[in-house]
C-alpha cells in the first residue's frame, strides 16, 4: 500500500453515553478518493469534525503527512493542508461568490495584517479566485451574492473555497446532498477531475457517485468501522450488504 497522507488511529468521541465514533482508524492515501459511507447517525460527520479539528477527540491520534496534528486547532490544521466542506452549506452569504473564494485565497496567502490596500483590487487574490470559480463551473457567477446562488451552486462554491486554499486533503461532507441529478453529475465530474492531484475524504449517500469515484471505501455503522476495501470488495462484502447496503437493495 502506498504511503498514507492522513492516518487516524482509534478515534473516539462520546456524547454522553452515545459513542458517535468508536475507535475509528482510517488511512487516506495521497491523491486518492476515500469514501466513507454508513447510515444516518453512523458518525460520519463527527469523524470529519474530529479530523478537521472542530471537535476534540476523546481518544486517538491523527497524523497528516507524518506530523501529529491531534492537538492542533482547526485553523492550524487548515493551514497544514486540510480543507473542508460542511454538510450544511457554509459560505459567506453576504459576500459575492468571488469574495468568498478570494477570502480562501487570502487565508492560504497568510498575510492579513494589512490595513491599507483595497483587497478587492488585489490581483494576487482576485485572479486565483476567478480561476478557481472557473474550475468548479461557476465562471461568470463571481459577482452574484452568495446567498442568492442556487443550492447546487453554493455547494460548488464551497468546493471552490476549499480548493483555493491549495489543500493536500479535502474533507467533503455530503457535497451532493440536496442536488438534482444534473448538478450531482457535474459534481461527480468535478471531483473525478481532482483525482490524483488532491486526496479526498468523501462522505456521501449517493451510492452511484461513491462507486463511480472512490478508490477505497470505509463503511461506518454506529461509530465503528465495519469494513474497508475497494468499491468492488465492499459491494461484495456480505457483512456490508447486511449492515448497510442491504437497506437499499
Amino acid at each position: 500500500m502506498a504511503e498514507a497522507l492522513l492516518t487516524a488511529r482509534r478515534l473516539t468521541k462520546a456524547y454522553g453515553a452515545l459513542k458517535a465514533t468508536d475507535s475509528l482508524s482510517l488511512d487516506v492515501i495521497h491523491g486518492e478518493i476515500h469514501a466513507v459511507i454508513g447510515p444516518n447517525g453512523a458518525g460520519k460527520t463527527t469523524a470529519i469534525k474530529q479530523l478537521s479539528g472542530e471537535v476534540a477527540s476523546d481518544q486517538g491520534t491523527i497524523h497528516l503527512g507524518g506530523r501529529d496534528i491531534t492537538r492542533q486547532p482547526m485553523h492550524e490544521r487548515a493551514r497544514l493542508g486540510l480543507a473542508r466542506s460542511f454538510q450544511i452549506t457554509s459560505v459567506f452569504g453576504g459576500f459575492t461568490a468571488e469574495d468568498n473564494v478570494a477570502m480562501a485565497v487570502q487565508a492560504h496567502d497568510g498575510h492579513s495584517f494589512r490595513f491599507w490596500r483595497r483587497a478587492r483590487s488585489e490581483a494576487a487574490l482576485r485572479e486565483p479566485a476567478r480561476r478557481t470559480l472557473e474550475q468548479v463551473g461557476l465562471g461568470g457567477r463571481g459577482g452574484v451574492i452568495a446567498r442568492n446562488l442556487a443550492h447546487g451552486e453554493q455547494r460548488q462554491l464551497e468546493i471552490a473555497m476549499a480548493l483555493a486554499t491549495d489543500p493536500s486533503l479535502l474533507l467533503l461532507d455530503e457535497p451532493m446532498a440536496g442536488m438534482g441529478p444534473d448538478e450531482a453529475n457535474r459534481m461527480v465530474a468535478l471531483l473525478g477531475g481532482l483525482k490524483g492531484r488532491v486526496a479526498i475524504l468523501l462522505v456521501e449517500h449517493d451510492m452511484d457517485a461513491v462507486f463511480a469515484l472512490a478508490d477505497r471505501v470505509t463503511v461506518l455503522v454506529s461509530g465503528r468501522e465495519v469494513a474497508t476495501g475497494s468499491p468492488d470488495a465492499i459491494r461484495a462484502d456480505p457483512v456490508v450488504r447486511q449492515a448497510y447496503l442491504g437497506e437499499d437493495a
Partner: protein
C-alpha cells in the same frame, strides 16, 4: 458609459450597478453640502447669536468618533461589545488625572506635576495607549467567549471600571475631577470654542478616511468574514481570535481618543462617562444610523444628540420618544437610516 465606470460598477455588485452609480452622484452632492455647512457653522452660529450650536456639534463629533470605533467591531466584526464606555471613560480619565496632577493636586509628585501633562501632544497619546491596553486586557478574556456571554462579559468589565472610579476617592470618587483648563496644543488655542470644534471635526474626518481604507483592506475583509461566518473563517485557516483582538484594541484606542476629547470638552471627568448607559447610547447611535457602514454611526450620533437636544427642551423623559423611533428603524430599516438611504451598497 465609459469603460472605467463600467469596471467599477461590475466589480461592486452588477445587479445594482445602475442604482449604485446614481446614488454615488447623489451621495457626493450630499457630502459636499454637509461639509460646507459644517465648515461655516461656527462663524454662522456666532453671527446668529446661537453659539451653543458650536458646543453641541463638537459633542456630536466626539460621540460620532466613539460610535464609528464601536461600529468597527460591532457592525463590521460582529462583536457585540456592550462596554465601549470603558475605553471612552479611560481616555477621559487619563486627561483628567494628568491635569489634576499638573495643577498641583495632592497625589504623587515625581514624575507627575510637570508641564508636559497639560500638553495634548503627551496626554492624548497616553489616553489612547491606556484605552488600548485596557481593550487588550478585556478583549483577551472576552473574545474567548461569544454570543450572550461576550455581551455580558464586556458589560461586566465596564461596570467594574465604573465602580472602581466611583470608589477612587483620590480622584474625586463619585463626583469626578474638574479640569483646570483644556490641554495645550502648539499652534492652536483649544480654549477657543471654534478651534476645538474644527479640531474635533478634523479628527473625525481623518478617522473616517482611515476607516474607509481599513474596512476594505485584507484586515477589514477578515473582520467582515468573522461577522458573516466565523466557523468558515476557522475552517479556511484564519486564526480568528488574533484578528478580532486586534480590531477590538483599535476600537478601544479610538474610543480612548474620543474620551480625551470629551474630557477637554466638558472640563471635568466623572465615572458617569463609564456607566453602561453611555455604552448603550453609543450602541444606539450605531444601530440607528446603520451598522456595518462608516457613515451610519456618524448619522446616528447626529440624529440621537439632536433629538435629545430638541426633545429635552420639551419633556423630561425624552427617551420615551426614542424607544418608538428605534422600533421603527429596526422594523423598516434594518440597516439603519443610512442603510435605508443606500439600499444594499455596503461601501458607505
Amino acid at each position: 458609459m465609459s469603460d472605467a465606470s463600467r469596471t467599477t460598477a461590475v466589480s461592486r455588485a452588477p445587479a445594482e450597478g445602475k442604482a449604485g452609480r446614481l446614488e454615488t452622484g447623489w451621495r457626493a452632492a450630499l457630502l459636499t453640502c454637509v461639509a460646507a455647512a459644517l465648515l461655516v457653522l461656527p462663524p454662522a452660529a456666532e453671527a446668529l447669536d446661537e453659539a451653543f450650536l458650536i458646543g453641541l456639534f463638537t459633542r456630536i463629533f466626539i460621540f460620532a468618533l466613539a460610535a464609528v470605533s464601536l461600529d468597527l467591531i460591532l457592525g463590521f466584526g460582529g462583536m457585540v461589545s456592550f462596554g465601549h464606555s470603558a475605553y471612552f471613560g479611560a481616555g477621559a480619565y487619563v486627561v483628567g488625572i494628568l491635569s489634576f496632577h499638573a495643577a498641583g493636586g495632592e497625589a504623587p509628585a515625581w514624575p507627575f506635576s510637570l508641564p508636559w501633562m497639560e500638553s495634548a501632544v503627551a496626554a492624548w497619546p497616553l489616553a489612547v495607549a491606556a484605552a488600548a491596553l485596557l481593550a487588550l486586557l478585556v478583549g483577551a478574556v472576552s473574545l474567548r467567549t461569544s454570543g450572550m456571554y461576550f455581551i455580558m462579559i464586556t458589560l461586566a468589565f465596564a461596570q467594574m471600571l465604573y465602580y472602581f472610579f466611583v470608589s477612587l476617592e483620590v480622584y474625586g470618587g463619585d463626583d469626578g475631577l474638574s479640569i483646570a483648563g483644556k490641554n495645550n496644543l502648539p499652534g492652536l488655542d483649544l480654549e477657543n470654542e471654534a478651534s476645538f470644534y474644527y479640531l474635533c471635526l478634523l479628527i473625525l474626518v481623518v478617522f473616517l478616511l482611515i476607516g474607509r481604507r481599513l474596512v476594505h483592506s485584507r484586515f477589514g475583509m477578515v473582520l467582515q468574514g468573522c461577522k458573516e461566518n466565523e466557523q468558515r473563517m476557522l475552517a479556511l485557516g484564519f486564526p480568528v481570535y488574533r484578528y478580532k483582538l486586534a480590531a477590538f484594541v483599535m476600537a478601544g484606542a479610538v474610543a480612548g481618543l474620543a474620551g480625551a476629547l470629551m474630557a477637554n470638552y466638558m472640563g471635568f471627568v466623572s465615572p458617569g462617562l463609564m456607566h453602561w448607559t453611555v455604552s448603550g447610547e453609543i450602541m444606539v447611535m450605531v444601530i440607528l444610523g446603520g451598522m456595518g457602514t462608516l457613515a451610519g454611526p456618524v448619522i446616528g450620533a447626529f440624529v440621537l444628540l439632536l433629538l435629545e437636544e430638541i426633545l429635552s427642551a420639551y419633556m423630561e423623559h425624552w427617551m420615551i420618544v426614542l424607544g418608538p423611533v428605534m422600533v421603527l428603524v429596526v422594523l423598516f430599516a434594518r440597516r439603519g437610516i443610512w442603510g435605508w438611504f443606500q439600499r444594499g451598497d455596503p461601501d458607505g
